[in-house]
């Protein structure tokens, strides 16, 4: 069982018998008062989103889902297509199901697909992915202060803050848990 202090973005819980994932999480607490755990939950079967606030003392059943090793193939108008590496069966996950995870998918990437019966209802990504910067304004000459940053867009359409020395075309490592820049990747 989980308790309130285990709650965080991405945690999967069983609520009313169905698997849910915490899509957004915020902890708030008056200094001397009781903590409130505000969650935006996504029902992993229906995709519906709703808000729920919990108070300390509540407990939660983990949603233990079967995970299958699959490979990401491509995206088409129906969604994102994955292939089971053992059976070669293909399944499709919709954009809504993937949420922000869609930004960290690279062709032929190995991922774990969370299964509910025969349906894929989510993915487990590696902690780090390498993606190419497709758009970022050039480094302004004279901008030498360490720590300056600028926005950059990577090949999947994801936009993040990067150091000002990161140029278009370079490969960068991103932490999929936070969505933050880690480092440039040597090729």
């Amino acid at each position: 069982m989980y308790n309130c202090s285990d709650l965080k973005k991405g945690l999967k819980l069983l609520i009313d018998g169905e698997p849910h994932v915490i899509a957004q999480f915020d902890f708030s607490k008056p200094g001397k008062g009781q903590a409130l755990y505000r969650c935006k939950l996504r029902n992993m079967i229906t995709g519906s989103l709703f808000d729920r606030t919990y108070r300390s003392g509540e407990s939660f059943e983990p949603a233990s889902l079967e995970e299958r090793d699959m490979q990401y193939l491509y995206q088409d108008e129906t969604g994102y297509i994955f292939m089971d590496k053992k059976t070669y069966d293909q399944i499709t996950l919709t954009e809504e199901t993937l949420g922000d995870d869609k930004y960290f998918l690279i062709d032929n990437m190995d991922v774990e697909i969370l299964m509910y019966g025969e349906r894929g209802i989510g993915i487990s990504l590696p902690n780090f992915v390498n993606l190419r910067v497709t758009q970022s304004d050039p480094w302004v000459k004279g901008d030498t202060a360490a720590g300056n940053n600028k926005p950059a867009t990577v090949e999947t359409g994801y936009t993040l803050q990067v150091p000002s020395f990161v140029e278009e075309g370079v490969l960068i490592q991103i932490d999929t848990r936070t969505g933050d820049y880690v480092t440039r990747v040597k090729e």
Partner: protein
């Protein structure tokens, strides 16, 4: 490998943070406050229902330096301040870290009204321009700042009265979910006079059986500081601690040892007032940062 970018990018904020802490020290030293360093690992914290201490071998990390600082006041030190780390188990959010930096100051021979004036003086010293921009809100720091009792805050902002909220155990929920979001954001505001059961270390307000002289400062809708006219009646303090301990037991929480030397010396405590202010949140305000992660070098997740 490149230098850790998440650390590199914080340099400007961290440099400002260091300067602000230096100014805070100067602010108190200029008024003849004594800076102290009390132990951070202690045998007993003040028992509070909703504050869980981090155990450290057979002792605990401090949840606040309050008890040791009051022992110094009991021994005749009249004006004290401290900037130290405090630990509160399980507190992690956009405005919470389980290890964070606290500023606490105490003055003898005064009450919580003086603390409110101190907060006004401190902020106007740190921000001579007289206004702040935080989260796209311009906050006017011109003094005096508005002061509103908790009772009036319930009347003004909530559909149920303070008494009904206490009766139905909704006090904290209404403060966090209804009152805090409704507070004016363009000026700091003090909420004061709390129900006695929400102020276990604060003195009773004269002629008010169920009200304690406790004050909270909110800036931009964020809780920044909490202070009291300090309770200095040892029998009453023992009783209040007992109530907190009983509530902890009822809720299945770890019981805490009693801070005996503090209680023994409490009869020497002069009339005084003390307040704790979250330094990290202050830096968030002064550097226009949205999350506490932006104003500290390391969070527990990136250690």
């Amino acid at each position: 490998m490149e230098p850790n970018w998440q650390l590199v990018r914080k340099r400007e904020t961290l440099e400002r943070r260091a300067r602000i802490i230096h100014q805070i020290r100067a602010f108190f030293m200029n008024q003849s406050f004594l800076e102290v360093e009390t132990p951070q690992r202690i045998p007993a914290n003040a028992p509070e229902l909703f504050i869980d201490a981090v155990p450290s071998a057979e002792w605990f990390l401090q949840t606040s330096p309050e008890l040791c600082m009051k022992r110094l006041l009991s021994a005749g030190y009249e004006q004290l301040f401290q900037i130290c780390h405090c630990w509160r188990s399980g507190e992690r959010g956009r405005r919470h870290l389980p290890e964070y930096t606290m500023l606490e100051w105490y003055r003898s021979h005064c009450d919580y009204h003086q603390l409110m004036a101190d907060c006004e003086d401190l902020l106007t010293t740190l921000v001579p321009e007289g206004q702040l921009l935080w989260n796209n809100i311009t906050i006017d720091l011109a003094t005096p700042w508005p002061r509103i009792t908790v009772k009036d805050a319930f009347t003004n902002y909530s559909s149920i009265s303070l008494d009904d909220a206490l009766e139905s155990d909704q006090f904290d929920a209404i403060i966090t979910e209804i009152i805090e979001p409704s507070l004016p954001r363009n000026k700091p505001i003090f909420l004061y006079d709390y129900p006695l059961e929400h102020a276990s270390l604060a003195r009773k307000k004269p002629d008010h059986e169920n009200t304690a002289e406790r004050v909270e400062l909110y800036i931009g809708g964020m809780e920044l500081a909490n202070g009291f006219s300090e309770l200095n009646d040892p029998a009453e303090q023992r009783l209040r601690f007992q109530i907190e301990e009983d509530l902890r037991r009822q809720q299945g929480k770890t019981p805490y040892p009693s801070p005996i030397p503090f209680l023994d010396e409490l009869e020497q405590l002069p009339d005084c007032a003390g307040i704790a202010l979250g330094i990290d949140r202050l830096i968030m305000l002064l550097c226009d940062k949205k999350t506490i992660d932006d104003v500290v070098l390391f969070t527990p997740e990136n250690l």
